[in-house]
Subunit: 337 residues, 2 copies
């Protein structure tokens, strides 16, 4: 069964040092991504972060990933704090995490194709309580507690990157659901029977607003004779957010059209989600949003396809925590536990 | 700020009999609807209901409505329980109720066009703690606790009547939101730029699935030459659920087309909402669902427009509590408080 805190703790066993008397100690937050592992030291009371350490995510198997997490934490703590003083470690991962902290799989991390109780694995290695959460949920918590959504009881955070992920805070609590799938706004249908989705569905938000969907559609339309600006720019490599920004700045007609599709798809899905859940603030982040900035948000808010009760009741704001939202949020979730 | 229990209690003042020592006592649940006021006596532990009383909702002003609520409760209790033994009274009303129990307005009740702290008003009259909640939320709680959604941690209840309302239970808690508007699935946009909605928007679910939307569209299309079956049946009176059922049974082409529109609109909105919130069970009730039954649900589940992750992850079930869901749910919410 799901827990409202969105993570699950590995209780330090009696053979380890008990942290029961050190609850006010700092917390390490670690964001384990497909390309890098980033750690920050977070004050469990104020949420303020101090120091950072990072390393590339190994492609050589899960044991190496676990080694890297440990090494990054050691590097972060060096000269700042003793492992003995930590009250917990929070870890965010790019995959679904159920209410018991079981990570189902992480498609973007080599070798993570099976369920792993990461809280146990890392708890045993570190000798400290470990709370594991989904990275997007961590990002939502960071924005809610110390970012653009500070002060709002409820918040939807939408991260527009390769796909489109989301995290949901209702009445000041992260909601994760029994399977850890709450907030999957990227798979809301915005065009019934529309573009095919990686999940097997069709017409989902991320087919229009995610980089992978934009990439596929750009190549398809170019083959049909549309402007080859984007494929010319990247060749066979994936289109990145900076290329989309370049296409917009160059006023490439196909890029503008694809960004327009993204704007309307986001407007429809976000408006509907916000109306259904009575959410006054939606925080948008991720590569494409970082590149296109406030103009992109203004276009979404002005879209005639803004769903539900629309922009009258829902304010769109840019995410404030950029690269470290996952690490900070993971720490904040561990602090709550 | 919202409370997870969806209601707000009027504490019995010291001048009244304190119910502090009577927490195990029964609870009266009252459903105040546009046409009738219905009360049931509910066991606060088991949720089982005993006896009922009802009266027509007065059209002559709010004082008469309050008198009727009091009279219906007296009639219900007569010979069954003493008012002194009650641990609380729960009241469901057809309008938005914020987390403090303030009822904003009830458009279907004559004279209720301004905010009223009903928990105070009825608490003073009854001398017992009164918890006030939205009627649709009460229905969702009844289905979750003692109806078709029993045993599921999360549930979306969708009631298809004149409009389309919804209530949301996540991780075994009713979610209401700061303004009491959570679950307003009827105003999710399913057809951008589509049929005009009573709320001023367009293409909302209830324009396609609610009786009022079906009524408007039937008359519009009949004027354009479509089958006049429905208008012929009702004249200038509103089309009711039984008329829609009659049109389906007579295989009237326009009725079949309008019901088909309703099926696809519900499939899209329900699938999207369930995917966003990781909800395994959606309970459907209300006049149209009661009339069209399981076939209607099967058609929704089979719709190619079932949004999000679709019917693979979300089961549709018929509501089990019919007329008394609002009263039972109001009592259950009062029991929790």
């Amino acid at each position: 069964m799901a827990k409202g805190n969105g993570g699950a703790k590995k209780k330090a066993k009696s053979s380890k040092k008990s942290k029961k008397d050190a609850k006010a100690g700092p917390i390490v937050g670690v964001d384990v991504g497909g390309t890098k592992v980033l750690a920050r030291l977070v004050d469990s009371e104020t949420g303020e972060a101090d120091g950072w350490a990072k390393a590339s995510t190994p492609k050589t198997g899960l044991d190496d990933v676990f080694d890297t997490i440990e090494a990054v934490i050691d590097e972060l703590l060096d000269g700042r704090a003793s492992k003995d003083d930590l009250s917990a470690v929070g870890i965010g991962v790019p995959g679904p995490v159920d209410g018991d902290g079981l990570v189902q799989k992480c498609p973007n991390i080599n070798g993570w194709d099976k369920p792993i109780q990461l809280s146990d694995v890392m708890g045993d290695r570190l000798g400290v309580d470990v709370v594991v959460s989904n990275d997007v949920n961590c990002g939502a918590v960071a924005e809610h507690r110390v970012g653009a959504g500070k002060g709002s009881d409820s918040l939807l955070a939408v991260f527009v990157g390769t796909g489109v992920g989301g995290g949901l805070v209702l009445d000041n609590k992260l909601v994760v659901g029994a399977r850890g799938m709450v907030g999957e706004i990227g798979h809301m249908t915005v065009e019934p029977g529309g573009r095919p989705c990686g999940c097997g569905g069709a017409g989902h938000l991320e087919c229009y607003a995610g980089r992978a969907g934009i990439d596929r559609e750009a190549r398809r339309r170019t083959e049909e004779g549309a402007s080859p600006f984007l494929p010319d720019l990247v060749g066979s490599s994936p289109i990145k957010s900076r290329h989309i920004q370049a296409g917009v700045e160059a006023e490439d007609p196909l890029t503008l059209e694809l960004v327009d599709d993204a704007v309307h798809a986001l407007a429809q899905a976000i408006g509907n989600a916000a109306s259904l859940l009575d959410i006054p603030v939606v925080v948008l982040g991720g590569g494409i949003v970082d590149r296109l900035g406030q103009t992109f948000l203004d276009d979404i808010a002005a879209s005639p396809r803004f769903g539900g009760f629309g922009p009258d009741v829902t304010r769109l704001v840019l995410a404030e925590r950029l690269d470290d939202a996952g690490a900070i949020g993971a720490a904040l979730l561990a602090a709550q536990d």
